[in-house]
Subunit: 340 residues, 2 copies
Amino acid sequence: MAVVARLEGTKSSDAPNALETLRDLCAADMARVNQLIVDHMQSDVPLIPELAGHLVAAGGKRLRPLLTLASARMCGYEGDKHIGLAASVELIHTATLLHDDVVDESDLRRGRDTANAVWGNQASVLVGDFLFSRSFRLMVESGSLEVLDILANASAVIAEGEVAQLTTANDTATTEEDYLYVIRSKTAALFAAACQVGAHIAQSSEADETALEQYGANLGIAFQLVDDYLDYSSTDRAFGKGVGDDFREGKITLPVVLALRRGSDEERDFWRRSLEELDQKDGDLEHAIEILNGHDALSDTLIRARGYAETARSALAGLPDSQYRAALENVVDFCVERAH
Amino acid sequence: MAVVARLEGTKSSDAPNALETLRDLCAADMARVNQLIVDHMQSDVPLIPELAGHLVAAGGKRLRPLLTLASARMCGYEGDKHIGLAASVELIHTATLLHDDVVDESDLRRGRDTANAVWGNQASVLVGDFLFSRSFRLMVESGSLEVLDILANASAVIAEGEVAQLTTANDTATTEEDYLYVIRSKTAALFAAACQVGAHIAQSSEADETALEQYGANLGIAFQLVDDYLDYSSTDRAFGKGVGDDFREGKITLPVVLALRRGSDEERDFWRRSLEELDQKDGDLEHAIEILNGHDALSDTLIRARGYAETARSALAGLPDSQYRAALENVVDFCVERAH
């Protein structure tokens, strides 16, 4: 079988293909998920599918719903409730992106104009609310109150992380611990929940459910660390966001936290001017990258990402070996190696 | 009993007291609801309870959770799941208000500065999301998937109504039907759901549950009609919003729809300039009120409100007579008579 053949050939060096392999493996399920997402974006109010469709059509990796599908299948699930759950995970993520772009005042997402740039902040806020509500209706169809609790909790934690990020923005006193709280909440919580509900719906053992939740949480942290690394170093237009967005917004991500801790008074003055006071001049971003590299702050961010990635991978060790497990293991590489 | 004595004395002319009577009747339950709301606003991120507390402390009528409590009690419910449901109804409402104020760019709510005016739009969007997620966790505790579906659906419909309102704003071609769609969705859906879940948790008959849903829906429409009337005629500082907010934002509410339909070409030009183009001068609000009164547009809005109020009241006719039923009947008067 073609899928197996590709899987066997998937090593770390094939990391870019690991997401493709996971997609191939879940292709039939994913087609149903995509249909369900489109169905649940519909409304008598034409602006809703128009705006939501803009973001959904822009693509995105669909990594989170893939995690739900593969987790469920890996745990031997043969029903079809994982389809609705994967769709609701992606709808939560989509709603979050719409609100994020309003909060960040972003103009670009997945290489396209953001919805707020096209239709305004008001519509983005409200359509986000709509998608969020629809995601809950989809969850209800799973018939599992535990699943609802896991995902509702993840949603609340995401919002907490976003608020915490707002309060650490422009604050050069932000610690590594503060930063980790933010990314655990705003990113890792949904990765963890996406995996956990897959195991839960398959009626896995508590140990397996916890293992998958740990896999997702650590993968999510690694993923966000790499995102924050890429924001200072990506040369890839496909990254979809502009390099330096975090810098321009004064977000305090791990590379900056490390450079602040390791830097000179003069450098700290630079960070305070550029990130706290947002008093930025031409050449400041390049200077920032120079300082970050001077303290190995970018490479050390990647080293940490690899550590979390390794933790994610090893969380799967106790689960039955299968194509799905292999694909989930390999997707860890994809998340980290996209840094290159 | 004092409560009964006051109830017996409650007629239409006592409308201002009807809300008080309902509050007295549900006082013990409502104290638990308030505690639950405060508990669910808590977070490790201090800005969240601070911002949410600002809005919650400002009071508000707590009409929606009272509807849930009284509906459940009227249907003979003796458990305590109505407490969590009433709290989640109020949390949905609170989240909606936070997002509304961002969308409307309002500065004043319940007579205080809005949260967005104090902490900015970003925090209001995210704390709204947090409260919304927490409301779902509370619903999960009810243990009823049907209840979750009713409230998740209401939340999606509210968002649809808000988006529809955005698309009718500044559009003088808005019809009465368009307007009714907006208010049924953005206001009446939550009133209806608040009542329906009370009946549902009490395991009422389908007929009783539908009757309460109809009561809530019609009460909600009447309530919003009166709100839109008051926006052009309130002299009451306790209304909490400024008179003329809708006019300044170019919202097309029923009084304007009626005046547009009945007016002269010259008047339509005035509405187009002031509401579509938002080109407003000193004295325009006063002129608008003059035109509205010239066409009985405000008084006819009230007449329609009374019609819906009457429909709401009569929806309760088949339900067992009780203090709770009397209080719910009388609260209809409160919603309409606050216009005076």
